[in-house]
Each structure stands twice: as structure tokens, then as C-alpha cells.
């Protein structure tokens, strides 16, 4: 009992903590669970997948979704070099004010934020049948289920079951809360042609773009994991050391 007590308390606390992100059980299907390169203590960003994912964002998602917290220079984190980044940035235009104080557009620099597809939310709604395509900067952190959820949405389009009432302009999606999503199915088999010869199946495309979006949401991920491993190893060593000192010091005390 004496030794059980701390364990019991730890278990109770752990249970309480696990219960916190309570996901309301609704009509949606259980999310797929993929083996991501970035999960786990030693997880890293799969650079090839993230680069293919950027290609998808650039040619598909960016027509409606902004990525306003990210800079073009961030692409260095998925393995692009300075020349490539400059070229990508230069191919976009961003709003600016000219010498005469008038609004103008200029080619983007590596230090610019990603170009937003619409000038403001109202313009975005007007172009999208009243729906507002969310900014994707932290999307994998902003949804219950994270990367698996985004992957699920991209691959979860299906024909509605018999008797399901689908509203005008909506699409059936297995994983979306309420199963009705305004976004048209953005990816199909062969939506993009990969330059590295990877087979462009829907699942592959979804996996790649989710890897890219996870990187954008957590640009510090690899540094954080590397530092974490070192910190924890050091602390384990320090714990052992301090415990040895404590044992030696207390050896003579009757307690």
C-alpha cells in the first residue's frame, strides 16, 4: 500500500489529463491513423513529401486558402535552397504601396508572407458561395485529430448514404462534423503531376500536403525534438546523480 499510493495518484492524474481533449462522439467515421514521419520523439519532416506537398498547396489549395503566418523563407525548412525560394517568391505578386502612395503589386521576396488568395474575408466569402476557406497556417494544430483529421477530410469524400439530406452546394464527407462540407473535393488521383516521379494517387497527394501543412504549423518541430531528446537524456543523468548523492547523504540517517 505504501508504495502503491504514489502510483495510484499518478494514474488518477494521468487519467484526468487524458480525458481532457474530450472529442464529442458524433455521427462521423473514426479517423484514419497514419504512420507520419513527424510523430514520435524522434520524428522529422519528410522533406521529399513536404516538397511535393508544397507543390500541391501551391497549385491547388492556394487558390482559396491563405497561409498568412508563413514566409517564403520558411521553405528552407523543407529542403529548398535560397535560389529556389527566391524564384518561387518572385513568381508571386504581393500588394504594396508605390512611391506615389498608390496601392500596387510587386514580385514577392523571400522575406514576404505567403500571398493570400483574397484581399479580405469578405472577398473570400463572395468568391466561395458564402463560405470562408480557413487560413491553413496552423490547421493541423487547430483541429481535433490533427494531421490524421486533415488527411481524413481530403480523402473522406463519398456519395451520401441513402436518405441523407445534402444541402445545395454542399458535399458529403465521412469525417467532417455534420458530414456536409462546402469545400469541393480538392484532390483526386492525378490532380498534380509530381516532378520526382512519385505516383500521384489521392492518398499520396493527401499524405504529402498534410506533411507540408504540419511543417508550416510547426516549423520548429525538428529543432524541438532534437533539443527534447538531449534535455531528457541530460535530466535522466542528473536524476541518477542527485539520487546517488541523496542515498549517500541519507545513509547514516535513521528514518
Amino acid at each position: 500500500m505504501r508504495t502503491l499510493r504514489p502510483a495510484l495518484i499518478a494514474a488518477l492524474l494521468g487519467a484526468a489529463m487524458l480525458a481532457t481533449p474530450a472529442r464529442a462522439a458524433e455521427a462521423e467515421a473514426a479517423l484514419p491513423s497514419l504512420n507520419w514521419s513527424f510523430s514520435g520523439l524522434f520524428g522529422t519532416i519528410d522533406r521529399a513529401a513536404a516538397q511535393r506537398g508544397f507543390q500541391i498547396y501551391d497549385s491547388v489549395c492556394s487558390n482559396c486558402h491563405s497561409l498568412k503566418q508563413a514566409y517564403y523563407r520558411d521553405l528552407a525548412g523543407i529542403g529548398l535552397n535560397e535560389e529556389q525560394i527566391k524564384a518561387i517568391a518572385a513568381s508571386k505578386t504581393v500588394p504594396d504601396i508605390d512611391e506615389a502612395g498608390q496601392p500596387t503589386e510587386r514580385p514577392a521576396l523571400a522575406s514576404d508572407h505567403f500571398r493570400a488568395p483574397f484581399a479580405n474575408d469578405r472577398a473570400a466569402r463572395a468568391a466561395n458561395n458564402g463560405g470562408l476557406p480557413p487560413d491553413l497556417s496552423v490547421i493541423t494544430k487547430a483541429r481535433e485529430g490533427g494531421a490524421n483529421y486533415i488527411y481524413g477530410i481530403l480523402t473522406g469524400y463519398d456519395d451520401p448514404p441513402a436518405g441523407f439530406h445534402l444541402m445545395e452546394g454542399m458535399h458529403y464527407n465521412k469525417y467532417f462534423p455534420g458530414n456536409q462540407i462546402a469545400m469541393i473535393p480538392p484532390l483526386q488521383d492525378g490532380t498534380v503531376t509530381y516532378t520526382d516521379g512519385t505516383i500521384n494517387s489521392l492518398n499520396q497527394e493527401a499524405r504529402d500536403v498534410v506533411t507540408f501543412l504540419t511543417f508550416i504549423a510547426n516549423p520548429e518541430l525538428e529543432q524541438r525534438h532534437r533539443m527534447g531528446v538531449r534535455v531528457v537524456l541530460f535530466l535522466l543523468f542528473l536524476t541518477g546523480l542527485s539520487y546517488a548523492v541523496k542515498r549517500k547523504l541519507w545513509a547514516d540517517v535513521e528514518h
Partner: protein, 421 residues
Amino acid sequence: MVGLHESDIKNPLLRWVDTRLPVISLLQKEYAVFPTPKNFNYFWAFGGLAMVNLMIMLATGIFLAMSYTPHVGMAFDSVERIMRDVNYGWLLRYAHANGASMFFIVVYVHVFRGLYYGSYKAPRELLWMLGVVILLLMMATAFMGYVLPWGQMSFWGATVITNLFSAIPVVGEPIVHLLWGGFSVANPTLNRFFSLHYLLPFVIVGVVFLHVVALHITGSNNPLGIEPKGPQDTLPFHPYYTVKDSVAICVYFIVFAMLVFFFPNALGHPDNYIPANPLVTPTHIVPEWYFLPFYAILRAVPSKLGGVALMFGAILVLFVLPWLDTSPVRSAKFRPLYRIFFWFLVIACVALGFAGANPPEGIWVPIGRIGTAYYFFHFLVLLPLLGRFERPLPLPESISRPVLGGGALPDGAAARPMETV
């Protein structure tokens, strides 16, 4: 008494200081030679851990405030800028956000340790009450801190919690408008919450100081719940407990580091990565995990005022706990019935946490109600009665001669008849 302090410090410079301002003597007395019961278990490290945690929160918070903008249009983006552009900003922010969770874990263990070993009983009533004040201040600070990133849960959490005050008759409405700085949660609310979130931690530091002063007057309680009878029962705080606490601090940092580096968002709510939008209500508004039991108590009765009264009552009852518990025996070790009911209380609190995390429907409604009922029954009915009807086990003669537990006794001591209460 006016006059220079008589210092026995050898170093002339330190001696010069110490005779005029005897801080070194004070530290020597209160932290080096301070006689401390020699039978602490590791639960006694949690007070020190809470102190370390408070310092981490202050340090990370001060640096975060250098890069944060308390404006409804900029707060969310400024937090993302901290995460992306400030050197090690992600580390500061994740340490601060998870530091809040660690703080509550540590403090809740500290509180339940006090409950189990009767640390609130005479002469430590005021020490305990100051602790409850610290807990209240921590809750206010944590709540306002959660509002600052101005995500969806920030905004809607602030709306729900500030609205609670409107349940108070007559003065409720004006209080809410005062909290908001207007007629809804908006920019003035964010501004004053930022100001108060920066102020309150320093108030906590002040009350912690009083808490520690009170502790050093009464001395610490210990797992046996009996006062030290003499020098054979105590050890100097340094090096014995500085070293033992170091072990605890290392383990604490391992847990903390696991959260910060590998699961930084596990205890947060994903909706708080969506910028605040007053026009879109999240499906389920839930507070941070450490408020969930109180949130469940709030929702336990179908009356706004009743719920608010119960929620604040759940904290207020702790203030009078030293007088509700009528048993003269402190430690649950010697209280066969209290020892069982203590775990009932723990289970009730955990169950309330689950009830608070889930929408108030189905099985969670009765669980929330039974948990709430037991919480108040435990403090208001059970503890006053237990003291009268419970037969405590015989107490040991002293810390160094525990008659129970089978520790090796010095020759000749074993034959002594045990004293009973």
C-alpha cells in the same frame, strides 16, 4: 530593538552587510540549519516544486510579454510571431503554457498531501488559509492568461466565465461590465486581462512569502502528523532536504520537458488555434483541464446562481476546513475511516473532472451531481462527524521511535509501553 545585528559571518564584506541587514543570517537560520522533521516522504517536495514552477512562469512570462500585443486584431498573430520569429519563442511559449498545467498538477498534489496528512490542523490553520488564497489567485491568473492568445476558447471561455458574475443579485451586472470594460468581451477586456495577468503573479509571490513565513513559525507537518519532540526527530534543512528536493526537481523537469518538447499541445484545446470569432460559437466550450472539476460543480444544479454559489463554495469551504475537521489526529495513517474517505474525495474530484470535460448530457449529469454532492458532504458533514465517531490508532511516541511500522528500535526502547490517545 535598534542597533547593529551581531553577525558570526567570517568574511568581512559579508559581515559588514550582515550586521546592517541580516539577510545572510536569516537565510542561514531559515534554510540551512532550519530543523525539519526527518521523516518526510517525497510528497513534501511539492511545495518546493511549486516555488520553482512559479519562478519559471515569471521568467518565461516576462519574456513573452516583450513580444506580445494585447489587441484583439493583433494578439493571435503576435503569438504566432513569437512561435516563428522570436529566437526560441516556441520554447518560451510552450514552457509557459505547459508550465501552467505543471503548476496545477504540483499544487493539486500539494493540496491533497495536506488533506491526507492533516497539515491544515492547529497550529497551521493560517498557513493553510494562505495556501487557499494562493490557489484562488492562481486560478484567476491562469484564466486570464488563457484569454491572451485570443483564440476561440480564449474568447468564449472569457465570455462564459465573466458572465457567471451576472448571476450575483443587484451588483452582478455592473461587475460584469467592469470586467469587460464595455458591454461585451472585446478589446478593453483583453487589455485589462493582460494587465492583471502581469500583476497577479507578483501578488502570488507576496502571498507565497507569507505562506513560507507562516510555515517557518509552525514548522512543517510530517507523515506521522506528530510534532518533533527534540533534535533527534529533526535534520537541518540543508543539506538533507536541499538534496532530497533536488531529486524531486529533476523528476519534475523530466515530466515538464516531455510535455514541452514532445507533446506541447496535448493539454490545450485545438480550438484555441482558431482566431477568436464573436460570431461563431464552438460546439463545446470547455475550460483548461485544471478547472474541469469546478466547471462540473458549476453545471451540477439547474440554476445559474446556485451553480456559481456552489463553485465558489467549493473553494470557500477549504478556508474553514481547519474547523470542520474535528479530529485531533492529523495524519490519515492513524485514522482508519478518514483514510478511506480521503480516497472517496479523490475519486469524486477526478469524476468531476471527467464530467466537466464532457457535455452535460446522459451519464455525465448524474456523475457531476453525485461528485458535487459527495464533495460538499465530505467537508460539511463527514469531517465534523468523523472526529467524534472515529477511533484513531495509537500514535507513535515520537518521530524517531515509531511504535508502529516495525522500524528498528534502539536497544531497551522496545519494551516501552505504547501510549494511546
